[in-house]
Symmetry: C2
Subunit: 232 residues, 2 copies
């Protein structure tokens, strides 16, 4: 009853299968190191049949990237419940899962280069950043953030990217430490901005007031206080 | 006596002139919007003569980018004198000068895309990042930084890039505020890391001990203390 399954795949099903296979290969090597022959072999079909579904490697790469982008954006979704620090920490855990699963492909993409630097790949990366931005704005209970708050959020997203890229390069620091550190970095960047801006200070006070005494933000505050010389 | 000056330009001199002209044009528009005809006209020579010196627009773009990279790296050089916070603040001033002078070109380059995403452009960007990294390591009085310190420095460099890019997009926050904020962000990222790592804590204590009571770091500390509820 299961013979001929490959033959019976519909067009959409076959495209989806090829995208999955390609994503698996592109996750583990830079795009220039993955060939159409390899994708065909991994999918169990002929090279001309791959070209029947995708005109070339770049279009298959972009389709795989689109799949990865949707997958990553889905991991940002977090219920609006409980303290913000713990929500952020859970999202960071899922972000590092993603980075770990797609490591070499993520590095190649984010570090740029001829095989990945098309307008479409840039647009997909920006789409994921925008989706992260909107999630955070929503978690903070804001609608249209003031320019300084927008800067803090977008800066922090770029910090999360660069921290993940550096982690991938040798994994010299445990990822759990970096996930927690990034949550703290968010508080730190917001605090620096709040030190000079009353609107930011108000937002930050409201966030910190809702944090539990044993949550990641409170823990950071206690450790920072221990660090500072008492005579300051 | 000055007639025929254009004719008498040597090969190197002509190349340098073309690079200057191209850098001026590429600084103000994305590379895809600048034509060889325009470069030829601005340089006062014929289109074929441009091709005599540079095989195509991409090679001229890369030469202009190389010039800009050297110029930017030169602005990172700062005497090893006085408090670190003030040195960083002066470097941030020169960095924002550079970003302001080359705004649209800087955005196009850093946001990537087909016209700028070659391996050579990536390598030049990484070269500038590495030079910034080495300058900071040297200012901190370190030789081979521990992994956590390296992460803080490289993360901060990427934060400076993303802050500058966001500033260029509408200039909604005064640049002087962002220059000071970035100096504070450096202290904040180091402090977060130091809260969990004794080696970082030692380095940070040594830096802060050398800071004057009215310098940017001390000012930040005072403002942050004012922000935190007293019962913490």
């Amino acid at each position: 009853m299961t013979t001929g399954v490959r033959r019976r795949m519909g067009v959409e099903e076959r495209r989806e299968q090829l995208i999955s296979v390609a994503l698996g290969l592109f996750s583990h090597r830079a795009p220039e190191d993955v060939s159409i022959d390899e994708i065909a072999e991994a999918a169990g079909i002929s090279r001309p049949l791959v070209y029947h579904y995708f005109p070339g490697k770049q279009s298959l790469y972009e389709a795989a990237l689109g799949r990865a982008a949707d997958e990553l954006a889905a991991r940002f979704v977090e219920p609006r419940e409980g303290p913000l620090g713990e929500r952020l920490l859970r999202v960071m855990g899922r972000f590092f899962d993603f980075v770990d699963e797609h490591g070499p492909g993520f590095s190649a993409l984010m570090r740029g280069g001829p095989a990945v630097g098309s307008s479409r790949t840039s647009a997909m990366i920006n789409g994921v950043r925008q989706s992260a931005y909107e999630q955070i704005v929503d978690h903070l209970g804001l609608t249209v953030p003031a320019p300084r708050m927008e800067l803090v959020i977008r800066s922090w997203i770029s910090l999360a990217e660069s921290t993940a890229l550096q982690w991938l390069d040798g994994k010299r620091i445990p990822r759990a430490e970096l996930e927690r550190q990034l949550v703290h970095d968010f508080a730190a960047l917001a605090a620096v901005s709040a030190a000079y801006d009353e609107e930011m200070a108000g937002t930050l006070r409201a966030i910190l007031a809702a944090e539990p005494i044993d949550g990641p933000f409170a823990e950071l505050a206690a450790r920072l206080f221990a660090l500072v010389p008492t005579e300051v």
